[in-house]
């Protein structure tokens, strides 16, 4: 009896110890920094822009810092948060990591607590007037509780369509500027066995882009004001925008089965393989105008098509208001340094180089993937050769200029995670006919009130 008691107590003690040890596993301590500002091994986590662009950034970085080895670790957009959270909590294998503004993946509000303050490093590299030299959003959206938690690499904008100009020329289709022209263009392409417009409406974040563009077409600024609580989601403009969103599906502009399709890879693949003539993508798509990047994208789409002429156009004036050309954007991604990294100094060197140095930002500018954070870095058009410079150069230059002048119109920066989900739910419901536009607006207003 006595013996069994002792064994039982021993077991209980062992279990308690086990659970205590396991509990302890989840609270990692900051590791000792074994790197220097010019040497170390940095594992850089992220989701964008992907090969071969990231490798080019690292190659350029290593020309200046040959003793810092950077390893790029990419996950898909959807898997990023799930993969990064345990890695950061564990404190191993993550030195630098991408974060974003707002409610998308890698949100700074969620992950900022795991990053070090980069203010001093930026001051040292750029000077005390660094705020004047960098894009305002790069600083403001990455500052949490007064600490600069990440350095913006560049900004992306949305609100436009990309079209395959070669297909428009081949079938003699007028570039759509309003709802009727858009419908007609889609009909002509459909008759020729090509999707007119394609959207992966099963991937909700891109639906928010399209809806934002419609809302800005109905009444510029209403969407942003609604996200800030300055206008109710039940405002007539929002309800009208929801009705027009539904109309895109009812009028056959959205391809059949759009709600079952993902924007990436499916809609993207259809456009890249020249099976669709129009797609709703933003400034990140500009890099596909570069021959090498386009070839890579076409191959990823399992297509043997040749590179083609793609150009950005304004979102058609489907509301008939004349309000066109609106663009909205925020930092695509920023680089943060893990507080638990054992390569903090080397990772800081990399983050600062990528986000603030002339050489780092120039290669960002020339990749056309994002609009750089450093104001003095702009694409070197003498060195940047597009697939069809004659037809693409002017529209793309004008497009990027328009994007940079879009003003205070954030893409996801003002939308919290709950509103993001509510928008995706309502847009899918309205498109599928299970939610009426007015009820959808009520649902958005309720979520906004709850989340506040």
């Amino acid at each position: 009896m006595k013996k069994s008691k002792v064994v039982g107590m021993g077991l209980a003690a062992f279990m308690l110890m086990t659970t205590t040890v396991l509990a302890g596993c989840s609270s990692g301590k900051e590791a000792k920094d074994t790197s220097t500002e010019t040497s170390g091994e940095v594992v850089w986590w992220g989701w964008t822009p992907g090969s071969p662009t990231n490798e080019k950034y690292i190659e350029a970085f290593n020309k200046e810092y040959p003793d810092i080895k950077v390893t790029w670790k990419q996950t898909s957009i959807d898997a990023y948060d799930a993969a990064l959270k345990p890695a950061l909590a564990n404190g191993k294998g993550v030195d630098a990591f991408q974060v974003s503004a707002g409610s998308g993946n890698g949100g700074i509000q969620v992950f900022g607590g795991q990053a070090i303050d980069l203010t001093d490093a930026v001051k040292k590299a750029v000077g005390d007037d660094f705020k004047d030299k960098l894009n305002e959003a790069s600083i403001s959206t990455m500052t949490v509780n007064g600490q600069l938690k990440a350095l913006g690499v560049g900004t992306v904008y949305s609100g436009n369509l990309w079209i395959n100009q070669d297909l428009f020329d081949k079938y003699d289709v007028k570039i759509p500027t309003n709802l009727d022209e858009w419908k007609l263009a889609c009909e002509i392409f459909e008759k020729n066995g090509i999707y007119g417009f394609v959207q992966g409406a099963g991937q909700g974040a891109f639906n928010i882009d399209t809806f934002h563009a419609i809302a800005d077409n109905v009444n510029p600024g209403t969407f942003t004001k609604a996200t800030r609580g300055e206008v109710q989601w039940t405002d007539d403009s929002i309800v009208k925008a929801l009705e027009l969103w539904k109309k895109l599906f009812d009028d056959g502009i959205m391809q059949e089965g759009a709600l079952g399709l993902q924007q990436y890879p499916e809609a993207n693949n259809l456009f890249m393989s020249q099976k669709a003539a129009m797609v709703m993508m933003g400034s990140w798509y500009t890099s596909n105008a570069l021959p090498d990047t386009m070839k890579s994208s076409i191959e990823s789409a399992a297509s043997k098509a040749e590179p083609f002429t793609m150009i950005p156009i304004n979102f058609p004036d489907i509301a008939g208001t004349g309000n066109t050309g609106s663009m909205f954007g925020d930092l695509d991604y920023s680089t943060a340094v893990s507080a638990k990294s054992s390569n903090t100094k080397a990772a800081t060197t990399f983050a600062v180089w990528l986000g603030t140095s002339q050489s780092g930002q120039q290669i960002i500018a020339d990749s056309l993937n994002v609009v750089p954070s450093l104001k003095s870095a702009t694409p070197d058009w003498d060195n940047v050769t597009l697939v069809n410079p004659e037809k693409q150069n002017d529209p793309i230059k004008a497009y990027l200029a328009n994007a940079m002048n879009s003003g205070d119109n954030p893409r996801f920066g003002g939308i919290n995670a709950d509103m993001n989900q509510a928008l995706m739910d309502v847009l899918a419901g309205v498109a599928g006919g299970t939610i009426k536009p007015a009820n959808g607006a009520d649902q958005l207003a309720k979520t906004q009130a709850d989340s506040e």
């Binding site: 009896m1 013996k3 069994s4 064994v7 077991l11 062992f14 279990m15 086990t18 659970t19 396991l22 509990a23 959807d78 948060d81 799930a82 959270k85 950061l88 909590a89 949100g107 969620v110 992950f111 607590g113 795991q114 409406a201 099963g202 991937q203 909700g204 391809q255 059949e256 089965g257 759009a258 709600l259 079952g260 399709l261 993902q262 499916e266 259809l270 099976k275 995670a417 709950d418 989900q421 739910d425 899918a428 419901g429 498109a431 599928g432 299970t434 939610i435």
Partner: protein, 293 residues
């Protein structure tokens, strides 16, 4: 006194044998369950050092959340349909392959192979198969049937596509278990039924099926627990959409816990899932005991 002596003897002689498994189960699995329950009382994003205790309010929230109930409804429908069709097919295949079928081993392999294929491998294939740009659409177009394969985009049909995929994948499991169960049936019993004039279908219904009852019960338990835990197929094929039409508890827990960083709420739904799984297993077990009586 004697009882205590026996217990002490068991503790001394048997304990070392079960100790590794006991420590693993008690120390890890039960720790995880209690830790999840603890999490379910918090408002926490999973990384922030600040954790706010909200008591049982995450449970209140779940019980008034229409998506939670939608996930429950989907789970029930999913279980009933897949369980009936999957086991019917598995039972029939097992019965057929117990007769003298040519190339029986090949047939067994063909039926069982889908079970061992990873959903992550098969999901893109099914997405393509059931998309308007897919093989099925090409076939319908070639036959001029005028059918548009946009079933994954329709709330009413998307769940049935997931059921088809699941039935395709797990019929092999039902088949193999029924096949093994049928091998245990006394041949004399089958011969006796034959001598009594029972036909093949009567023998299947009155002799074989009752003798496979324990297998059916096991499959029901596995089916309930599997349905409650369903994640990979809906997440990879429909991501729970459109508009939560194919949401399951697993996919909803993932979205709440990871995408929306409501770790406490996700933990509360996980605890409810655990309770439902235990209740389901107990229910099936009791029904089985009732049937045996």
């Amino acid at each position: 006194m004697k009882k205590n002596k026996t217990l002490g003897s068991t503790m001394t002689n048997g304990l070392p044998w079960i100790l590794p498994a006991f420590i693993f189960v008690a120390g890890l699995i039960y720790y995880s369950i209690f830790y999840t329950f603890d999490l379910s009382t918090l408002d926490w994003n999973g990384l922030d050092p600040i954790q706010t205790n909200v008591g049982m309010s995450n449970y209140d929230k779940a019980l008034s959340d229409w998506i939670f109930w939608k996930a429950i409804k989907n789970t029930v429908v999913f279980f009933l349909v897949t369980f009936v069709i999957q086991n019917f097919l598995g039972f029939i295949f097992a019965a057929i392959l117990h007769s003298n079928v040519k190339l029986a081993t090949l047939h067994k392999c063909l039926i069982f192979i889908p079970t061992i294929l990873a959903p992550a491998t098969m999901a893109p294939v099914f997405r393509l198969l059931f998309s308007p740009q897919g093989m099925l659409q090409d076939l319908f177009d070639a036959l001029h049937l005028g059918i548009t394969v946009d079933w994954l985009a329709q709330p009413n049909s998307a769940l049935f596509i997931l059921m088809i995929v699941t039935i395709w994948q797990f019929t092999g499991m039902s088949f193999i278990l029924y096949y093994a169960a049928m091998s245990q049936i006394d041949k004399e019993m089958l011969e006796a039924s034959h001598l009594d004039g029972a036909g093949k279908f009567r023998t299947l219904w009155s002799i074989v099926l009752p003798n496979c009852q324990s297998t059916t019960v096991s499959l029901a338990m596995l089916g309930i627990i599997g349905s409650l835990k369903t994640f990979d197929v809906p997440y990879l094929i429909t991501t729970g959409g459109p508009n939560h039409a194919t949401e399951f508890l697993g996919t909803y827990i993932f979205k709440q816990g990871i995408r929306q960083s409501h770790l406490g709420y996700a933990a509360a739904i996980s605890v409810l899932l655990l309770i439902l799984a235990i209740c389901g297993a107990i229910l099936i077990s009791r029904m089985n005991k009732g049937g045996e009586k």
